[in-house]
């Protein structure tokens, strides 16, 4: 009987971790994705691009530690590298490169978020 209880406890732990993963990864990735899109859309206003990039950076810095629990650290490092690059290009006024890095980041974030979804392609 005690084995059954421990079994139940383990199942609860697994369910809790899975729920936390879905919530944390999905919400963090969604936020970053939206901010990246905003940067890409605000092509005319340089101040807005700068502000949004800073927002993106601070958001990523706060979410990074939580994401480390569930995501491959290499993927997190790849996103971090791109965000630092976007920030640096923005400071230097290379807006063309900002868009290019943002486009790369969008694809990467989309791919990371996509791997967490239960679907036929991910199953196999």
């Amino acid at each position: 009987m005690s084995r059954l209880y421990s079994c139940f406890a383990l199942l609860l732990i697994a369910a809790a971790v899975c729920t936390a993963q879905i919530f944390v990864v999905h919400s963090a990735m969604d936020d970053v994705f939206e901010l990246t899109e905003t940067v890409l859309e605000s092509s005319a206003d340089k101040n807005t691009i700068y502000m949004k990039t800073e927002e993106l950076y601070s958001k990523w810095e706060s979410d990074k530690n939580k994401l480390c629990l569930f995501l491959d650290h290499d993927e997190i490092d790849a996103v971090s590298c791109l965000i630092y690059a976007v920030r640096q290009h923005c400071k230097n006024g290379n807006y063309g490169l900002v868009y290019s890095e943002c486009a790369k980041m969008k694809v990467l974030i989309d791919a990371i978020d996509d791997t967490e979804i239960i679907k036929f392609e991910n199953f196999f």
Partner: protein, 225 residues
């Protein structure tokens, strides 16, 4: 490096707890399902252990799930004999009165060399010394030897005919008897098959019956302990 050490310690404790939850058994005594789970757990644990880039949860959660599967399967196997039969198989007689049962041996995909190796490990060097040789579900060979020990009745082997209230058809075949005969034997002893925990019948016809413990007795026993 310190991270790797800490991760290793964490996973070591996790695996220890997992194995402890699954129950104590030696490698040789493991059923197929237990062996598979043990191999999988060790393999899964090694991934986050050797690669600090992988999240620990990626190893921890699959281990938890495998342990849960193993515990649930073992509970189901106790409750349902059909599931046990599917997962573990059944013991198969490969030697009967010194003769090798070739069909069973082929079915087990066991070579004569393997059989003789196991016989030798059981200190049997001639087929004539064997009354029954049974390959258990964990792959081990159990042997009933012809011995000159007066305390051991020669040529007798206890066969489980009723286990947990159910008659074993394979045992009936082995004893060359029918389920009706077993029911009659039980009725003669004024007992109900459903109330029998274990009934063994020796090849010389001796019947031993152990009845199921009543729930009240069990509780009292539990309390006294």
């Amino acid at each position: 490096m310190l991270t790797t050490i800490l991760r290793t310690l964490f996973l070591y404790i996790t695996i220890l707890l997992a194995i402890r939850l699954m129950g104590k058994r030696q490698i040789g005594d493991m059923q197929t399902s237990e062996l598979v789970i043990t191999l999988l757990i060790s393999d899964i644990a090694s991934i986050p252990m050797e690669n600090p880039g992988k999240p620990l949860m990626g190893g921890f959660i699959p281990i938890c799930l495998l342990v849960v599967c193993e515990i649930l399967l073992s509970i189901l196997m106790i409750k349902n004999k059909k599931i046990r039969r599917v997962v573990c198989g059944k013991p198969i007689v490969v030697i009967e009165n010194g003769k090798i049962c070739q069909t069973e041996l082929k079915m087990l995909r066991m070579s004569i060399e393997d059989l003789f190796e196991q016989l030798r490990q059981n200190e049997v060097f001639s087929l004539d010394d064997v009354i029954y040789g049974i390959v258990e579900t964990n792959g081990k060979l159990s042997i009933l030897k012809k011995e000159n020990n007066p305390e051991i009745p020669q040529g007798d082997m206890d066969v489980i005919v009723v286990s947990d209230g159910e008659i074993s058809n394979s045992s009936c075949t082995l004893l060359k008897t029918t389920t009706e005969d077993i029911k009659n034997t039980v009725n003669k002893k004024h007992k109900n098959i459903k109330d029998i925990f274990l009934m063994t019948e020796s090849t010389n016809g001796t019947v031993k019956i152990t009845e199921k413990e009543k729930k009240n007795n069990k509780n009292k026993k539990g309390k006294s302990n």
